[in-house]
Each structure stands twice: as C-alpha cells, then as structure tokens.
Symmetry: C2
C-alpha cells in the first residue's frame, strides 16, 4: 500500500519530469522535428532506449499533462450538485479548466505553437481529446441515469468539448479576444439558449 516515498517512485517521477522539461526546451530551441529522441535522452542523462519506458511516442512529450487535465474535468464534474442540469454542470466544470488555461497562458501558447507547426502532434492532441469525450460520455450516462443506447450523453460531451476547443482556438488566434473563461461561458450560454437566431 505504500505509494509515495519509495525511492523507486521518486526516481521515476523525477526522470519523467526531466525528460519533459528537457524536451520542451529543445523543441522550442531547435524545433520539434529537428530534435531527436537521442538528443532528449542524452540531455536528460538517460539511455535512448529508456525514453520509451516513460513515453510511448515523441508526440506524447508535448501532451504529458492531458491525463491530469481530464482528471480535473471529471473531479469538477463530480462536485456539482445532483439536481443541477447536465449542461450547467458541464459549464461549471469547463469554467474551472478554462481558468487553469488562462493562468497557464504561456505554457499553453507554447504548446499550441508546437502543435500548429506539427500535424502529428496536433492529431495526437485531438485523439486524446476524443478519449476525454469517451470518459465524459460514460460519466454523463450514469449521471443522467439513461440507458446505454441514449445518444444524449455523447452529444452533451461532444458539444461541451467543442465549445471548449473552439474557444481555445479563438483565444489563441484571434486579435483582441476576451479572457478564456468569458469566451467559454458565453459559448455555453449561446448553446443553452438555442441556436435558431442568427
């Protein structure tokens, strides 16, 4: 049951972190493509072969925090009151994540730069987000208490993620954009009040 203090765990965490740090710096300095696993491993003082026991692919280095991000969403969702509508619960959960992003503006932007110039990383990012959608769908299915073949949970999850992604994209590329949480909120609001207007 002893999780934390073992030297093993500690070393593992430290190495993983070192790989990530070193890699992101190299990606920025030299570019993603120009940077080889060999360089990364060497700078992190590890054998190249060892890299692959920490990250499955080079792409994953850029997206190391995605699983924590999902945890965050789910945790927030868990804390919403039972009687709140699913959409409102999602809105609140994503507001929290949006605030995270806002406060990590620099890191997010740096990663976005890498993704924008590297198709496979971008693709991988979307793939991980599809995993979020799956997890959210399951969670919403139990929350709503609907049957497994009700399309509603998946639709809600997909829509919420779409709002988040669109807001993020807009926030990072459009000039004169408001803060991310505001964008996200307004997106959720627009969908809540229906789309028949425009």
């Amino acid at each position: 049951m002893a999780e934390p203090t073992g030297r093993r765990e500690q070393n593992k965490r430290e190495r993983r972190r070192r790989l990530e740090d070193v890699a992101l710096e190299l990606f920025e300095r030299e570019g993603f493509d120009k940077t080889t696993i060999e360089q990364i491993a060497s700078e992190a003082e590890l054998a190249p072969r060892t890299f692959f026991s920490y990250f499955a692919t080079k792409d994953d280095l850029v997206l190391a925090d995605y699983s924590e991000r999902l945890d965050r969403i789910l945790t927030e969702l868990e804390q919403r009151p039972e009687d709140e509508s699913a959409w409102d619960a999602l809105r609140a959960s994503f507001a929290a994540v949006a605030a995270d992003y806002e406060s990590e503006h620099d890191r997010i932007r740096r990663r976005f730069t890498i993704m924008a110039s590297n198709p496979s990383v971008f693709a991988r990012s979307l793939h991980l987000q599809a995993g979020w959608e799956q997890a959210l769908t399951q969670r919403l299915t139990t929350r709503l208490g609907t049957r497994a073949d009700d399309p509603a949970p998946r639709l809600l999850a997909a829509t919420a993620l779409a709002v988040m992604r669109a807001s993020l994209q807009h926030w990072l590329t459009a000039p004169h954009t408001p803060a991310l949480p505001a964008l996200v909120q307004s997106g959720f609001d627009q969908l809540a009040s229906g789309l028949g207007t425009h």
Copy 2:
C-alpha cells in the same frame, strides 16, 4: 485548360485508385500494421518510392475521400438560401452528408474498424476534421458577415461537427440505433431548442 482526357491525368487517377483499392483490401485481410508500403506498392504494380507521390502517409490511404467529403458539405452549404439561419443551413447540409454515410454504410463501417484499432489513423481522421472546421468557420464568417474576431462562426462550425461526429460514433457503436440522418437531425434539434432541460 484541357483537364480530363490527357493520358497523364488518366493514369494518375487510375494509379491512385488502384493503390487505394489494393491497400484497403490488404488492411482488412492482414491488418493495418502488418501491411507494409512495399506490399501495397507491389500489389498495385508500382515502385514503393512511387507510393509517396500519391499519398503523403500510409494513414491517408484510409481517409482518401475526406477532401471530397468537405467539398460536399461546402457545396450543400452554398446552396442554402441566404435568409436561412446559419444553424438551419448547417443542419440541412449535414443531413445530406449523413444520407451519404447511411448509403455507404459498409464502407464507413469498414473504415471505422480500421480507425478503432489504429490510433494514428484515428488521430489523422480527427486532424482532417479540424481542417473541415477551419473551412466551415471561414465560410460562415462570410455568410454571417461578422468581423474576423467574432467567435460565433467557429462555435457554430465546431458544434455542428460535434453533432455529426457524436451521431456517427453512436450510430456505429450503440445497439438498436435509428438511421444516421435521424440521429443527426435530432442532435441539431436539441441544440436549436437549448440545452437547459436535462
């Protein structure tokens, strides 16, 4: 200006088609990973090196029709009346695409199987869909006549695609599902009437 009848064009089209046909068959028989570019080229009676003047990556073989699919969406959208709301125009356009998918059920399902068991193909598919989102966003920006920093067009595009994707996923995985066009329609309807209910 002579486009079609040139022998060059004709050969090119035929070879591309041959590569696609041969590849999909091999993927089904042997699995995506077990199939090498060398095999594909050999069966298509081309040199391995030549493969790469027809497809940039192995992944793209599976998704060869994605650009036509985008064309279809945009064409449909173009034909919608000016005074229709953007959301209704999107609904009608995606209904057409949904009908396409429904009628190509087998092909779609086959491709889905490959994607489901192969992360990089799945990721690539999502990446191409992000391209659709971009194209749709531009189109909607001009249609709505809004400024470049209005988040509405992107939000609409992202949401519509989310409905489409969620419906497709549901259609392909859930038991006892209605026809795809009906699913898509109902998704669009739910968002049009607001999400506050559940």
